[in-house]
Every structure is written in C-alpha cells, then in structure tokens.
Symmetry: C2
Subunit: 290 residues, 2 copies
Amino acid sequence: MKASAPGKVILFGEHAVVYGRHAVVTAINLRCYAEALKSSTFRIESPIATTSLDFEKHPYVSYAIKRFMEVKPIDGVKIKIESEIPIASGLGSSAAVTVAVLKALDAEFDAGLSDEELFELARKVELDVQGRGSGTDPFVSTYGGAWLIPERKPLDLGEFRMLIVNSGEESITSEMVAKVARLRDELGDVVERIFDVIDTISLKAFAGEGEISRLMAVNQCMLKAIGVSTKRIDEIVEELEGLGIAAKITGAGGGGSVVGVGSDEALQRAAKLFSGIIVEPEREGARVED
Amino acid sequence: MKASAPGKVILFGEHAVVYGRHAVVTAINLRCYAEALKSSTFRIESPIATTSLDFEKHPYVSYAIKRFMEVKPIDGVKIKIESEIPIASGLGSSAAVTVAVLKALDAEFDAGLSDEELFELARKVELDVQGRGSGTDPFVSTYGGAWLIPERKPLDLGEFRMLIVNSGEESITSEMVAKVARLRDELGDVVERIFDVIDTISLKAFAGEGEISRLMAVNQCMLKAIGVSTKRIDEIVEELEGLGIAAKITGAGGGGSVVGVGSDEALQRAAKLFSGIIVEPEREGARVED
C-alpha cells in the first residue's frame, strides 16, 4: 500500500518557541510518498540509496520500521520512497518520510493505528534519530493543517500561497540554537524581549489580526537581531521585498529556506528568478493513496 | 563674545522614547559657534544667509534673540554663526545653534543666566519653532555629556569613537513619527514589544552591560522592524558591518545619519569610503570661547 504525509513550514516563531513562546506552523502541499509491500526481507529504496534496514543511510525509515514492529511484528517489507520535499531545508522532510512510512506500514499490515498512535510512533522515531525534538514536525505531518504551537490549537489560515526559496547554505539547527543561547547569555533581557515580540507576532497571526506579510517582515528583523540570518539570506529577503514579497527565514536559519508571501504574480516571477517553489497550506495529514 | 554648544547623537532608543521608553543620547565633539556683538540693529550672519531678525530663514537664531530679550531687553545685536554640525542630519544642529546663540548673548550682555535658565530658554525656542519637541536636544547641548532619557540621569560612556555617515536621504522626523504611529495602530502589541526591546537595550547600555556594538546592531534591527530604515541605510549598515563596524540609524530615520562603532582602524577606513565623520562623546556643554 502507498501512503503519504505532508511537509511543513514554520510561519512564525522559530527559536522563540525553544524558550516557551508561541509559534505558528502549517503543513504544506509538498508530500513524501512511501509504498510498503509485504516481503520476506527488508529493503528500502529511496533517491538516496537502496539498502536493507540501515540506521545510517535511512535512519528515519529504518527506525519507523523498527518502531512499527513493536506494535505489529513483521518478517520483512519492501519500502519505496519518493518525496516532493527538499531534504534538510527546514521543510519537515524527515518527519514526512517517517509518518508516510508508518502510514504505509499500517495500511499494508492492517495494524489499525489511530492518528494519535501514528503520531506517537513518529515522535519516538524523531527522538531515536535526533536524540531531541519538539515533536512539532511529526505532529503537523500526521494531522496536516496549521497550528499554534505549543498548545497545538488549530487555525485556519485561509487560502494563500507561499514561496519557498533555498538559500543554498546549509542550516544546522543545533548550531543555530546554540548561537541564540550564547546571545541570550550575553544580552539577557534584550533577547527575552525579542522572543516576546515574536510571541506576539505568532499570537496575532493566530488571531487573524495584522497582515501576514507585515508580520513576516517584522519576524525576519527579529531573527536577524538574534543572529540567525546570513548575508545571503538578507540579500534574498531584500530582493524579494523589491519584487513585492515579504519574506523570512523558515526554520533554524544560518542558511536553509526562506518563506515569502505576496501576490500570485509576484510569487511566480520570484519563483523563476530564485528557482523557488510555490506551496500552499495543506489541510490533509497522513493518508493512504488510492 | 563668542560661545559654542555641542551637537548630539542618539545612541539608543529613538522612536521608543516617544512612547515612554528609555533612550541614551550623548553630546558629541562637533560644535556650533555663535558670536554676539552689541549693535544698534539686528543682523544674523550664517552660512545660510545674512538677514535681520528672520523667523523664516533663521528661525532658531531669531527666536533665541526674541526669547533672550524677554530676560534682558536689547536694542540690537550682530550674530555670526559657524557650525561643524551638518544641518538636518539628526545631530542636533538646531539645538546647538540655539544654545550657542543664547550663551553668546548671555556673555555679551552680562545677563548672568544659569545653565538651567539657558536650557529653559532653548527649550522655549524649540517649541517656538517646532511646535513640539522633547527638550532632549537643548538639554544635551546645554549640559554636554551622555544621558539616560527621559530621567536625564548622567552616564559615563568612557572613551570611544563613533562614525557618522550621512545617508544622503532627507530625514523628516514628523513623517517618521507618523509612520511608526500608523504601524502601531496596525500591529499594536507587536510594536509595543519592539519598544520594550529598545527600552531594554537603552537600560543595558546605561548599566554598562553588553557590548555597545552588539546593542547597536540589535537596535538597528528593531528600527528596521518599525519601518524607519531605508534600502540605502540597509546597504550602508551592511557595508559597514563588512568593515567590522556595527551601525544603526541615529535620529528619526527614513534617511538622515547612521552612527557606527568599531576599531579606530575600521572607523578611519570607513570614514574615507563613506565620506563620514569620526566623533567622540563630549563632556562639555555650552561654553564661552575665550
């Protein structure tokens, strides 16, 4: 059986959420697809490699199979992965592949997992691989939709499109989190008050108040203030602004992706210029395909 | 008699101070010089024009003479102005010319004004010309030194140099204050929390905590967030950053001046590249020149 799960973007609140503030995150209409076929051996086929259970090359898929087997023992399975979500770009590709594989296994082996059980397994896989994690990505990938974090209150973003541009620089979450922690040690209250600004932005977006574009531009200034923007990202954000698009880092920063909003025309022009992808909020979470 | 008074830079807190938050301002070693000579007529000579009392062409000097005459009636005076302070650049040239003229009048006509009386007259002139004003510029120009505003607590900034770069764009304070007010109407709490960040920066600088350069960079992000930076200022700030200088708008923004701090070598290099001026905090306020 084939299943899929969506990626996500953080619209507001990255980093601040680490310090107890609110964030807004939404599933996007880029999906990871996983096909599971009963087999007497284990085989994982993906654009990265073809392996057996392999906790190095396919950590998320392998741990997903391992965690699934705690619920329903199996002798083997053939997994095939195809993904629309760029890897390591802050778009939740790891959680999406995990959730898609679990959903496919659930369907193929009739395990009857509820969404909650699916999420809990995906959450465990996140911890298996990363050692830590907020659980937000597996949550959003499982349930779809947009959410206020950490309460996980759903929100309706309505219809809009977002441009995703890759900075071409690698974003290493742990390094950026450590960098912000150092700045907080140095500047204390100043950084806490910046988190408060970000918190207010997330709550305002959740309440449907204030233009998303304006809130994004302000949030980006806050991310720059805490040192997680880069010269390249500043350039991208400024050039997008010149095209009528408000943009910000999405994810940990120091590289990675930028998310922007603006008119359809502006987004399409910018998508060409920056080899970007246009995405939309996605209501549907993990699902079985046909 | 000849007298002089210093200009100023706002190191931290512009705009936030309008909403009750703290700012840090310092007198700088650029002065406006005014010579007053008893005469039977009124004559004002400056780089702008040579006039009689003229509330259009020489509003600050003319109102300064008018206010002085309320304290000590005179039949006429010849005033000659020379200034090191660039005009309309957010460096307090208006207050400096006002205070310098009042101090020169005081000396020439033996009015025996105390600093407090001098400041009060300069404060009235600010209101005469601008209709409104916080009194900060006349205060700093009268007393010299660095101050936490609005309490007017003195602080010792120690020795350091600042680079002043003119953006080449005009800064119109009233327009920028109105722009921030509109954003505050739109985003409410978000803008209030940004003011809180700026407030914390000013208090931290006052307490001598945190590197000035770091605080400046963060303050600039906040000013950008409230919409008072410009593309040109962003460029200047970024290029200065590349030269090892942390910089921010000083004054209302939308143009005007940028103030930056860094190593002497970096400042000198940047001063050449940007036709900037290097200034220092100035302890001495209004004074009679031998």
